[in-house]
């Protein structure tokens, strides 16, 4: 696939390297240091840093503002944008705002329902859905046009991504759904956290059977478990998450003080196994409020140093 944007992520993937991405959740306050500190922990070990957009529907510093802080410190951000909170005017406006700061990556999402967050009494918007947001940003970039049809002066240059959850139901449409996102213009995919590697492999095989792995770059999502309690919470309380019983057993069978280390071991073993899965082009390491562990994971998984491409 030829390179269409100045995105470092796109260049690394296009050159055939395994990409490493991570993420940074903006703070519940206005102190930029909270963003800068997190980014400093991971910046030398990852290619780009996703900045979440009011994740789990909890009000936080805006994703774009946090992306700008990263950009100003020389870290390449991935602007996450959910369709829950903005209509098509605001979404397009935000895309232009990001482009004005030369932000080159964007991840299009629908977002968790607001009932999970701190404003359950609020409205949701969903003027567009995540697929239609992909279409919108691709139109703005490739055709240089707004949804309304007018020309954009200096169109955005965004490498466009989407999420995929191989573990949500119904399983039979999980690959067709990926195909739809690709048809809408998703150039890279970051998956839901993978704990059930067997099921992920089953999904990837179907993806490859359809040749979809050659039409988009699939980054496998991993999240190190901090404790057996977290594993159980993820299994039982997080929608669309698949944590097999043997993972929970392994965590629960480890003394409490060693559980964080065991969680990281599982994460690294998962990455090692996924490296040989056809179609996996990189890893998205989501160490939630545990960013300091990312460098060690990247190093131990043999993904360091990161390639430099001009």
């Amino acid at each position: 696939m030829s390179v269409k944007t100045p995105s470092n992520l796109e260049k690394i993937l296009s050159a055939g390297h395994l990409a490493v991405t991570s993420e940074c959740g903006p703070p519940r306050g206005s102190d930029p240091e909270a963003v800068i500190e997190k980014a400093n922990l991971i910046k030398d070990h990852v290619d780009v840093v996703n900045v979440t957009d009011n994740q789990t529907s909890v009000t936080r510093m805006s994703s774009l503002a946090a992306c700008i802080h990263l950009k100003l410190m020389g870290v390449e951000p991935v602007l996450q944008m959910v369709t829950r909170d903005k209509n098509r005017i605001a979404l397009q406006s935000e895309i232009l705002g990001a482009a004005s700061f030369d932000i080159f990556n964007m991840l299009c999402l629908s977002g968790d329902h607001q009932s999970f967050g701190d404003c359950p009494q609020g409205q949701n918007v969903h003027d567009l859905d995540s697929m239609q947001l992909i279409q919108t940003v691709r139109m703005m970039r490739d055709e240089g046009k707004f949804l309304g049809g007018a020309d954009i002066k200096r169109p955005p240059k965004l490498f466009v991504g989407a999420a995929a959850n191989p573990f949500a139901d119904p399983f039979e449409i999980r690959v067709p759904r990926l195909a739809k996102k690709i048809a809408c213009g998703a150039e890279f995919i970051q998956t839901q956290c993978i704990y059930n590697v067997d099921k992920f492999e089953e999904w990837m095989k179907l993806v490859c059977d359809r040749g979809l792995h050659e039409q988009t770059y699939i980054l496998a999502g991993v999240t190190p478990l901090k404790s057996a309690g977290m594993a159980k919470f993820m299994k039982n309380r997080v929608p669309g998450m698949d944590v097999p019983d043997d993972v929970i057993k392994r965590m629960a069978g480890t003394p409490k003080e060693k559980q964080p280390e065991e969680g990281i071991n599982i994460c690294i073993e998962t990455i090692e196994r996924l490296k040989s899965v056809e179609g996996v082009k990189g890893f998205h390491i989501m160490a939630i409020e545990w960013e300091e562990k990312v460098p060690g994971i990247v190093e131990r998984a043999g993904l360091y140093p990161r390639p430099k491409i001009d």
Partner: protein, 222 residues
């Protein structure tokens, strides 16, 4: 039909506690079917209020009338002669009926006695569920007859989202995932390949987003 639910009686009392002559006005249509504002509910509310005022030692006259409909001029005309004689009218019709009453009887305070909830159907007695949000641009032909606008918590037109689990929605494990229903239905119709058709960006100008709506049919106007 329009589905409504009873307002707490305490809230209704707050509206009318100073009034001396009150009319409880029911409607024979949707709110009768969903047992929120028909003749039976008018009787129950009137009795409750009479007891309340009796306990308060107040002499308040409470009358009961149930009209065929509160969303048609001709039926509202039936109370033309008496409307002005009341200090307050509590309408147990949907929000449409309450407003139509208020427009017609300009000088009489009209209070809502129900909360208007949604356009829905009777699953069984005592359970009504939403089926339509009146977006003004029906897309049921391409979604197997299941509406993602009214039945998906995120109104996702290309679903399901990543929160669909065992056929249920991420916001409530008792709520069906609309997209699971759509996929099941497409399968039953042997049209699962339609799932991969991308639903284009929707024109919401026919929805409430476009402002208060009207339907004009010159062909049927007299």
């Amino acid at each position: 039909m329009i589905v409504a639910d009873k307002k707490p009686v305490e809230e209704i009392i707050e509206f009318i506690k100073e009034d001396k002559k009150i009319l409880i006005l029911g409607c024979n249509e949707c709110v009768t079917v969903c047992e929120a504002g028909g003749k039976k509910e008018v009787g129950i509310l009137a009795s409750t209020l009479r007891m309340y005022f009796l306990n308060q030692g107040k002499d308040v006259k409470i009358d009961e009338i149930t009209l065929e409909r509160q969303c048609d001029h001709e039926y509202l005309e039936e109370i033309r002669d008496v409307a002005d004689t009341y200090n307050a009218i509590v309408s147990l019709a949907c929000g449409v009926g309450v407003q139509f009453m208020a427009e017609k009887y300009n000088s009489t305070p009209i209070y809502p006695g129900v909360n208007t909830c949604f356009l829905g159907a009777t699953e069984h007695r005592g359970l009504w569920t939403e089926r339509c949000q009146a977006c003004g641009n029906c897309m049921l032909a391409i979604t197997g007859g299941i509406c993602p606008v009214s039945r998906c918590a995120k109104r996702i037109l290309n679903g399901p989202c990543g929160g669909s689990s065992k056929g249920k929605c991420e916001i409530n494990s008792e709520l069906d995932c609309a997209w699971q229903l759509i996929i099941d239905r497409l399968k039953a119709l042997d049209r699962l390949e339609d799932y991969e058709k991308i639903c284009p960006i929707k024109d919401w100008s026919t929805d409430r987003a476009g402002g208060p709506r009207k339907v004009v049919r010159e062909d049927v106007q007299i």
